[in-house]
Each structure stands twice: as structure tokens, then as C-alpha cells.
Amino acid sequence: MNSELKNFLKSIHEKAEKIGRPLWFMELCGTHAEAIAENGIKNILPKNITLVSGPGCPVCVTDQSDIDVMVGLALHGIPVAVYGDAIQVPGNLMSLEEARRNGADVNIVYDITEGVEMKKEKPNLVFFGLGFETTTGMTAWAIRNGLIVYSAHKLFPPAMEALLQNKKIRVDGFINPGHVSAIIGTEIYAQFKIPQVIAGFTGEDVLIAIDKLLTQIISGEKKVENAYSRLVKKDGNPKARKMIAEVFEISDATWRGFGKIKNSGLKIRKKYREYDAEFVYRDLISKIKKETKTKPSACRCGEVLQGIISSKDCPLFGKACNPDNPQGACMVSREGSCSVEYRYDN
């Protein structure tokens, strides 16, 4: 470790000692969870700082009912395309990977332009649109280029509000997501009266965020600071937001673990409904929803996503549930807190 970093860590320890009470900081992006684990940050922090993961993994917060719809469409002979992260997430019936093994036409794409290309050969292809503001602009672009989409897209700030309203959750500060913020900017977070720092994704970025949170707590401030200004601008990316607003409108959405959060989702505007799978396949989707029965599971991903428990508190973790045999979304996605915890602890 270089001397600059060593001195910096010393300052973090001094500040934490000065505060002298237990502190819970929540990171809100799965890539932060990865950076924290990869750099062993939890091991070098003062004892009174606990880092918890929040709902920052888009695959993880996608509700089972949305997986069920995509699996149902695929099993009814409609070709589907999906980002690789989501293919193994178990639905109530099965995952998209299992549907593929059962003969369904399930295609993995790295980027959505591959979906637009694929449509030329498979005109009824349905793309599974999921993710936060970072990926929504791309989906909007693809819809404008003729791709049919089932939208499970979500807005990030309403989830932060839901977290703050849940009295079971203790949070002293948020490490806000870097790439979501690149789109939405910094000012939208000012409504949340809690110390917040927008951070990039290196180990140093995370340490800077923690240091700034400590400084705010010492001074009694509750503001938004931008420690990722090399990318994140005050106004974010207006061009991407314009593209999103052109194609999508705000709606309620169901999040795994949280349930329904008002105004937290994005549905495709009527103007583009010929590319909205919920409209194009409305009869089939309502049949799928009626026929799917909820399967009970001991998986506690929902509580992990809210920072109520840590991965290790789940009885399945590392036993029945591991990356080769994931029981829930938090273990499926590489950014899921259970996957990160498992990979770096073993």
C-alpha cells in the first residue's frame, strides 16, 4: 500500500473513532459491492463501520413475476433475448436457462443492438428490458429501432425513498450509484435527508466516499457530494433522459424484496405499443399470470437486498445455494451480494 493511501486510511480511522458509535453505510450498486470485496475494504475499515449492500443489482431486484412472464412467453414458442446476467434467475416455474433446455428459443445478448439485429431473422423476438437508468436509454433506442420489449425497467430514487421509510433498516449514509448518476445527475438525491456520496468503482473511490460520509456525520451535514465528477455531471446526461422520456412513462413497479413501489417503474408509452410485449401479447401474458403459482422458497434475497440481513444470515447460503446452483437472484448475478460474498469468502 502506498504511503498516501496509508495516511488516508489513518484519517478514516481517526474520524470513525471521533464519531465513536456504530455506523452503517449502504452501497447502492452491485459493482460497488464487487469493488469492496475485491479490495478487501471491509477488513481495513474501523470496527464501528459496517458496509451493507442495498438494492443496487438490477437483476436481483427484478420480481419473480417478470421472470415468469418471460419464461411463459419462451415456452409458448416466442423467441426471447436477454442479458446474460438474468438467464439463471429462478422464476416460480423455472429460469430462462431451464426454459432453453426445454427447447425454448432463449438468446443471450451482450448488448441490445444484437437484439435489434436478431429481430431481422426472428420478427416476433421479445427482449427482456431490465435495469436502472443506466440501461433504460439503450432499451429506448432499441424500441425506436423496432425491437419488441417486455419492460421491467426501474427508477432508482424511489427505492432509496422506500429504504428510508422502512424503520427496520438502519442507514447512516448512502454510497450512491456511479453510472445511474451519470444519467440522472446529482440534484435528484437532495430530497433524501441523509449523508450521500456518489462514487466511482475503484477501491480508492469507495474509500473516498466513506471518508466524505464520515466528514458529513462529524459536521452534522446531510448533503449529496459527488466524488465521481470525472463522469457524473450535476445535470447528468439530458440526451439519454430525453430518449427515455420519449419512449417510457412512469408507472408502479414490483421489486423483489420490497413489493410494489409507487412510481418506481417504466412502461412503454402508448405511442410505441406495437413494440410493447405487454400489449402485443396481452392475452397470453394474462393467461401466464393466471396459471403461474407462487412457489415457496427459503431464499431470503429480498431481505438481503434491503440490507436487513447479510448473505451469511440466510440458511441456504453456501449450502443449498451457491453460484453453481443458485436458489435466488442474489446468488445468480455476479453483482448480487450473495454471489460477491460467496466468491470472495471462498
Binding site: G30, D111, E114, M138, W141, R230
Partner: protein, 72 residues
């Protein structure tokens, strides 16, 4: 899903740009940003999501220096 990589725009043709990632060049969709050749962008899942400062290490170095100077 937020894993993204910074790269430098070499050339632009309509909605596509050739972007250099430390010696590896790839075609990237630039429909979501307003950029010119020579500028840096953050790329995620085949799209440039936002422009980026050219000297991306400066923020961190700057912060560490000021914090240490302040004697905290």
C-alpha cells in the same frame, strides 16, 4: 450490470463510433451522448453512456493530496 469501461473516440460514423480501449478498438453506439472524436466516454453494454474527463486519475490523486495537506 454497471460494469463499464472508459475509452477514447477515434472516429464517428452516424450513430457509431470507433472507440479505443487501451489499444483494443471496438464499435460503440453513441446515440445517447453528444461527442466528438478525441473525447473520452464511459461505455456500458455497447453504448457510450456519458462523456468522461480525459484525465480520469486526477480526481483521486487530487483528493488524496488535499486531504493530506489539510492534516486530517
Amino acid at each position: 450490470m454497471c460494469l463499464a469501461i472508459p475509452g477514447k473516440i477515434i472516429s464517428i460514423k452516424n450513430q457509431l463510433a470507433t472507440v479505443d480501449f487501451d489499444g483494443i478498438q471496438k464499435e460503440i453506439n453513441i446515440s445517447l451522448v453528444s461527442v466528438r472524436a478525441g473525447e473520452y466516454v464511459m461505455v456500458h453494454a455497447g453504448f457510450a453512456i456519458e462523456k468522461m474527463d480525459a484525465d480520469y486519475a486526477s480526481e483521486m490523486k487530487g483528493y488524496l493530496k488535499t486531504e493530506l495537506k489539510a492534516g486530517v
